[in-house]
């Protein structure tokens, strides 16, 4: 369930205080400029991963984001130990990312439209979904339901968190059940798939958007490409499990470059909102 690089092409990011090399075109990019450009390569358009804070800055109106469940943390239901105990892994990830777990949720506005926003962070244990991610997303959906506000979830995940075993698997049903209520209430849910969105996250809430958008080049798939490759014992086709591949196969509404993402989401939300105001139609 954890992400693997599908083509054995290891991204050549050489983090320094000043420069980053683009893994696609090899360009050396000045970090400050890269950040200003929302971590999109100016030369080739390659989309670098964006952490949760950067994502919120990209999408939410300035100072509109108000985080909820900020201090929720996972316990260790199984007493799970591999090369180190699960609680140590969590502590390390918290220290590294500055967040308590792999998703931030809260209220925000997008171009003035009040929404519930959830953004995942791949830096936190590969964006894996355990109890905390499941609970926060479920509460986000339940709040959207209660307040009749659209829900926007930006996914970045290798899948379910193995260290929480079958409890992690159950988060698929838990989050989807909350979305099913949103769906019945006709409250919009927009799912944004970023690099990477795989495994249990794609096999649950991330696939169920009324509108599903993806960032260019994002790795998106059910199985890790390594598993798939072993299954067929051969090399996979070029572009396999990339955003554009999913577009062609009918699972993504649009592949949207990062600079246009916010206005695109706002357009869809506005379309749904304006129409929904005509009460005559809800017979």
């Amino acid at each position: 369930m954890r992400l693997r690089n599908p083509f054995g092409r290891k991204p050549k990011e050489f983090p320094s205080h000043l420069w980053t090399q683009c893994p696609m075109c090899g360009e050396m990019l000045f970090n400050k400029q890269l950040e200003r450009n929302n971590r999109v390569c100016q030369k080739c358009g390659h989309h670098f991963k964006l952490d949760a804070a950067g994502r919120i800055e990209l999408l939410a109106d300035p100072r509109s984001f108000s985080e909820t469940e900020a201090d929720m943390v996972s316990s260790d239901p199984l007493g799970f130990v591999d090369s180190k105990p699960y609680p140590e892994r969590i502590a390390a990830a918290q220290a590294k990312s500055g967040h308590k777990d792999a998703v931030l949720t809260g209220d925000a506005t997008i171009s003035g439209i009040p929404i519930v926003l959830a953004v995942m962070d791949f830096e936190f244990m590969g964006g894996s979904m355990g109890s905390v991610v499941g609970e926060k997303l479920t509460r986000a959906a339940e709040r959207a339901f209660a307040e009749r506000k659209p829900l926007v979830i930006v996914s970045a995940s290798g899948g379910a968190r193995m260290q929480e075993g079958t409890i992690a698997l159950m988060q698929l049903a838990k989050t989807v059940a909350a979305l099913a209520r949103l769906d019945e209430a006709r409250i919009p849910f927009i799912s944004v798939l970023t690099d990477p969105t795989t495994g249990g996250v794609l096999a649950s809430f991330a696939s169920l958007g009324d509108i599903v958008l993806a960032e260019p080049g994002a790795l998106i798939g059910f199985s890790g490409a390594r598993v798939t490759s072993e299954t067929i014992g051969e090399k996979l086709p070029k572009g396999f499990q990339r955003a554009e591949f999913l577009l062609e196969h009918g699972f993504v509404d649009q592949v949207v470059p990062r600079p246009q993402l916010k206005e695109r989401i706002a357009f869809f939300l506005n379309s749904f909102r304006i129409a929904g105001q005509d009460l005559r139609w809800s017979l």
């Binding site: 609970e135 079958t166 838990k174 059910f222 798939t228």
Partner: protein, 326 residues
Amino acid sequence: MLDRIVGTRRAAEGNGHLAVEAGLVTDATQLAAGRPTAWQAVQTARNITRPHALEIIGRVFDRFQELHGDRAFRDDPAIVGGIAELAGRPVVIVAQQKGASTEENIQRNFGMPYPEGYRKAIRLYRLAEKFHLPLVTLVDTPGAYPGPEAEERGQAEAIASSIQLMTRLATPIVVVVLGEGGSGGALALGVGDVVLALENATYSVISPEGCAAILWRSASEAERAAAAMKLAGPDLLDTGVVDALIREPAGGAHTDHDATAAAIKTALVAQVERLARVPMADLLSLRYERFRAFGTIVEPSSGQAPAPPQPWWRRMLRNPMRGGES
């Protein structure tokens, strides 16, 4: 959660459709000492001579009529479904089907469904809802097929849609895990009002081999991974992933298909009968809460986990005919 759903330990106050009477195990301490290790359960659950879905269906239900196809691409042999009678009551059955031989396993893709298999399931779920037929699902898969054609045809979308539909399907659903409950590919058949499992069945977020390969960097650590993931019957009872276990014959289900089927039938008849008496809106609320409750979190600011289920549901389920009293 167990009490709420299966209502066993309070048998005396109940409505007569009880877990204990049905031979169910709802507490790991009820199991014999010297029970198998997680790895032994994995091996037993995968035993090729273990009774698979159609063998169980033939023994548990009468007049099974298989229904084929997803109405869009293909009839997937790894998922079978249809209409049959359970002790005289018509029900819809959807099940994952492994083979009992290498040849059959190739035909059934080793019980690993393609997206079209899940879309067949979705179609049959809708049929069950439309005609008020209770739904029984039988889970037995190493996982959804991970090949490139499955990716192309939307394995993730199919599983997500199947889960979504089950969470709000307006008919009673009983799930029985027969053998392997392999990850999302199992869960796509696994959202029910009651989730039962055979004693040696497993249910896991990833195969032990897969987990070992990623966390221990070696598939040979699968045994350790199996133990760590707590995927065997008693663990599943403890975590509430399954509501009760169905006892297997002494040597395991593969030693006596008839006895295994008889135990499953007893459990199914009791559970379907009980669920059919619950008003649908309550059933859907309860199903939501059943899955809503999974998760072990700590919130320093609030100092508590999510609110427990409302007590009126407990009363309702324990004695649906008497409504709010008890």
